[in-house]
C-alpha cells in the first residue's frame, strides 16, 4: 500500500508530464485539455469584448461616434456570435468542468479522453470559419440569425458564420456526452449520487441540455444554409414557408442554451459559498434536483422570445405561464445559498466576493426575467435595451462572475500558485461596480423606449448611454486586471499546498497541481459532500 502510494506520489504533476508543444496539442489528459480550452476561450472573450467596446464607443453620441450603420450591425453581431458560442457556452463546462469533474468524482480522466481532445479541435475548426466570416467582411444578422433576413436578404457572410457555429455545436455535444457517461460510470467507490458536489450535479444538468438542444440548432442552421443556397423555401412565405418556424427551432436550442451558461456557474457558486462559509449546503437534495428541474423546464419556455412575433395568443399564454414556473427552481437555489451563509464563518476572499456578486446580479437578472415573461410588459419592452440589460445580467453578470470566481478559487489547484489576494479583491469590486454602471442604465433606457440594435438614438437618451459606456470602460479594465496578475502569479505567486482554502471535496485531497493520473490511488469515499469543518492542510475524505 505505502509503496504504491510512494511510487504514485513520485509521479510528476500534469504540468510537468511533458514540455513539448506536441505533449500539449496531442494530450488526452482532461486537465491539459481544460487548459487548452481556457486559453482559447480567454482569447475569444477579449475578441468579443473588443466588438462590445466598439459598440459602446459608438453609442457615446446620439448620431453614432465611430461606426457606420452597417459596421455597427456587424460589430454587435460578431460580439454576440463570439460571446455566445465561443466564450459562454464552453466557458465553465469545457474548462472547469473538464478539469474538475474527474477530480471531484475520484476518476482518472473523462470516459472518452480522445473524444475530449477532439472536442477542442472541433471548436477551433468551427471558430476558424467564424473568424473567416469576420475578416472577409463580417455578418450583420445579429447572433440570432433571424429569417427571412439571414436566409434571403443579408449580403454578408452568413454561410461562413453559421458553418462555424454548426461545427462548434459538435464540440458541445461531445463534451456533454463525455460528462454524462463519466458522471454515470466513473464515480469512485462510495461516491453515490447524493455525495456528489453540487458542481457535478449542475454539470450533469448542463450536459443534458448540451446533447438534447444542440442538435436542434444544427438542423435549423442546415435549413438556413439550404434556404440561402438552394432556396428551398422553408422560411420563405412566398413558397408557403414560415419564418416563425426558424424562431421555434432556434429558441428550442437558444433558451436552454442560457441554462448551459448559467447552470455551471450555479455549481461554481455552490462550491464557493460552502467553502467560504464553512458549512454544508443548506437543503442539498433541493439544490441538486432543482438543477435537473431547470434543465427540463428550460425546454418548455422558448416561446417567450416570440410574444410579439405573431405566434398564437394561446401559445403565448402557455409559454408565459411556464416561464414563470421556471423561476421556482432558480429561486430555490438562491434561498439555499443565502440559508447556507446564515451562521456560517464567512471569509470574504476573492472567490467569495465573486460568488456574492453572482447572487446579487442573478437576482436582478432573474426578477427582470419575470417582467419580460409576462405578456403585457413584454409587449412594451420587446427589442429594447430592457431586454439587453436583462440577459446581460444573467449571461455576463452571473456567468462571468461565476467564471472569474472559479478561476480564482481553483487557480492554486490548476497552477500550483496563489494569485495576489489584494489585487483579486480590488478587481472583483471593480467588476461589480463597472458591470452595474454599464447595464443598470440600460434597464431605464429600455423602459423609456430605446430599441436595441440601432446605431443612433434620440439625444435625450445620451446621458444614460454615456453612463453605460463609462461603466463598460471600467469593466474592461477590471477584466484586464486578472489577466495580468494571474499571469504574474504563474511565476511569482506563493506556492499553494494541496488544500489552501481548507475546502471539502476530493479535488483538494490531491496535490496542487494534481499528478497526471489525479490520485495516487482511486479514493474510497465514506463521507457526504461539504463535510465541514476541514483542516486547511488535510482533506475532507481520508482514504488509503
Amino acid at each position: 500500500m505505502t509503496s504504491i502510494a510512494a511510487e504514485a506520489a513520485a509521479e510528476p504533476s500534469y504540468l510537468k508530464a511533458g514540455y513539448t508543444l506536441r505533449s500539449w496539442l496531442l494530450t488526452t489528459d482532461h486537465k491539459r485539455i481544460a487548459v487548452l480550452y481556457m486559453i482559447s476561450v480567454t482569447a475569444f472573450f477579449f475578441l468579443g469584448g473588443a466588438a462590445a467596446a466598439a459598440v459602446r464607443i459608438n453609442l457615446i453620441t446620439p448620431e453614432g461616434a465611430i461606426l457606420t450603420a452597417d459596421g455597427y450591425n456587424k460589430a454587435f453581431t460578431i460580439h454576440g456570435v463570439i460571446m455566445v458560442w465561443f466564450f459562454l457556452i464552453p466557458s465553465i463546462p469545457a474548462t472547469f468542468g473538464n478539469f474538475l469533474i474527474p477530480l471531484m468524482i475520484g476518476a482518472r480522466d473523462l470516459a472518452f479522453p480522445r473524444l475530449n481532445l477532439a472536442s477542442w479541435y472541433i471548436l477551433m475548426f468551427g471558430a476558424s470559419f467564424t473568424m473567416y466570416a469576420l475578416v472577409a467582411g463580417g455578418v450583420d444578422t445579429g447572433w440570432t440569425f433571424y429569417t427571412p433576413y439571414s436566409s434571403m436578404f443579408s449580403n454578408s457572410h452568413v454561410i461562413a458564420a453559421i458553418i462555424g457555429v454548426f461545427i462548434s455545436g459538435f464540440s458541445s455535444i461531445a463534451t456533454g456526452l463525455n460528462f454524462i457517461v463519466t458522471i454515470h460510470k466513473l464515480r469512485a467507490p462510495g461516491m453515490t449520487w447524493f455525495r456528489l458536489p453540487i458542481f457535478v450535479w449542475t454539470h450533469y444538468a448542463t450536459s443534458l441540455i448540451l446533447v438534447l438542444a444542440t442538435p436542434v440548432l444544427a438542423i435549423s442552421l442546415i435549413l438556413i444554409a439550404a434556404e440561402r443556397l438552394l432556396g428551398i423555401g422553408v422560411f420563405d412565405p412566398a413558397l408557403g414557408g414560415d419564418p416563425l418556424l426558424f424562431q421555434h427551432l432556434f429558441w428550442f436550442y437558444s433558451h436552454p442554451a442560457v441554462y448551459i451558461m448559467i447552470l455551471p456557474a450555479m455549481g461554481v457558486v455552490t462550491e464557493l459559498v460552502t467553502a467560504f462559509s464553512r458549512r454544508r449546503i443548506f437543503g442539498y437534495s433541493f439544490v441538486a434536483f432543482s438543477s435537473l428541474a431547470i434543465a427540463t423546464l428550460g425546454f418548455m419556455v422558448w416561446g417567450h422570445h416570440m410574444f410579439v412575433s405573431g405566434q398564437s395568443m394561446y401559445a403565448g399564454m402557455v409559454f408565459s405561464i411556464l416561464s414563470f414556473l421556471i423561476a421556482v427552481p432558480s429561486a430555490i437555489k438562491v434561498y439555499n445559498w443565502t440559508a447556507t451563509l446564515y451562521k456560517g464563518q464567512i471569509a470574504l476572499d476573492t472567490p467569495m466576493l465573486y460568488a456574492m456578486g453572482f447572487i446579487g446580479l442573478f437576482v436582478v437578472g432573474g426578477i427582470t426575467g419575470l417582467f419580460v415573461a409576462s405578456l403585457a410588459v413584454d409587449v412594451h419592452v420587446t427589442d429594447t435595451y430592457f431586454v439587453v440589460a436583462h440577459f446581460h445580467y444573467i449571461m455576463v453578470g452571473a456567468t462571468v462572475m461565476g467564471y472569474l470566481g472559479a478561476l480564482h478559487y481553483w487557480w492554486p489547484k490548476i497552477t500550483g500558485r496563489m494569485y495576489p489576494e489584494w489585487w483579486g479583491r480590488i478587481s472583483a469590486a471593480f467588476v461589480f461596480f463597472g458591470f452595474n454602471l454599464t447595464f443598470f442604465p440600460q434597464f431605464i433606457l429600455g423602459y423609456l423606449g430605446m430599441p436595441r440594435r440601432y446605431f443612433t438614438y434620440p439625444p435625450e437618451f445620451q446621458v444614460l448611454n454615456v453612463m453605460s459606456s463609462a461603466g463598460a470602460s471600467i469593466l474592461a479594465v477590471a477584466y484586464l486586471f486578472p489577466f495580468f496578475y494571474l499571469l504574474w502569479s504563474l511565476r511569482y505567486g506563493k506556492i499553494a499546498g494541496p488544500n489552501p482554502w481548507g475546502a471539502a471535496g476530493l479535488e483538494w485531497t490531491t496535490s496542487s497541481p494534481p499528478p497526471k493520473h489525479n490520485f495516487p490511488e482511486i479514493p474510497v469515499v465514506t463521507a457526504e459532500a461539504y463535510a465541514y469543518p476541514v483542516a486547511a492542510d488535510g482533506g475532507a475524505t481520508h482514504h488509503g
Partner: protein, 215 residues
Amino acid sequence: MAETQLVLHEPFRDRAQQREADALGMWVFLGTEAMMFGGLFFALIVIRVIHPQGAQEATDKLDMWLGGLNSALLLTSSLTTTLAVTAARKGARSITTGCLLASAALGMAFLCVKGYEYYVDYGKGLMPGVGKPFPIETTGAELFINGYFVSTGLHAIHLFIGVCLVVGLAGAVWLRRVPVPGRSIVVEMAGRYWHFVDMIWIFLYPVLYLMDRGG
C-alpha cells in the same frame, strides 16, 4: 477466455465499466441524432399542418412503391445486422463478416433505389433549382417536396456513413483486427447505429409518402 482480448482503456477500472460506458455513450449519441432528425420531422409536420392541400398533392407525386421497397430493404438489413451481432457474440468470424457485408449491400441497394427515385423526380420537375419547372401550382406543394429532398438527403448521408462503417468493420473482423467474440461490442455498437438509421426511415417513409395520400 476470449474476454481477455478486450483492451482496457485508460480511465476505466475494469472491463464491465468500460463496456457499460461505451454502451451508454452510443445511446446518448443516438439521442442527439434523434433530436436533430426530430427538428426536421417537426418542420415536415408543420408544412403538412399549414398546407394540407399542397402537401397532399406533393405526396401523390412521390412513388410509394419505390419508397416501400426501400423500407423493406432497410428492414431486411436490420435483420442481417442482428444476425451479425449474434454471430459476433458467438465468435463466428466468417458469419459475422458475411452478415455485415449483407447489411452493407442492402444499404447500397437502398441508396441505388433512392438515386433512381431522385432521377425520376428530376424527370417530373420536382428537383429544386434544376430541370423542368415545378408541376404543381398549389401553395406548399413545392415546399413539401423540398423538405422531402432535404430529409431524404440527410438520411442518405447517414446511411452512406453507415455503409462505409460496416464495410470497414467487416474487413476488420475478417482480418481479426476486431477479434470476435472478444471485441464483439464494436459490432454491437455499429449495429446500434445501423438500426437507428433504419428507425429514422421507419418514420420518414410514412410522413413523406403515406400520410394524407389521395387516390
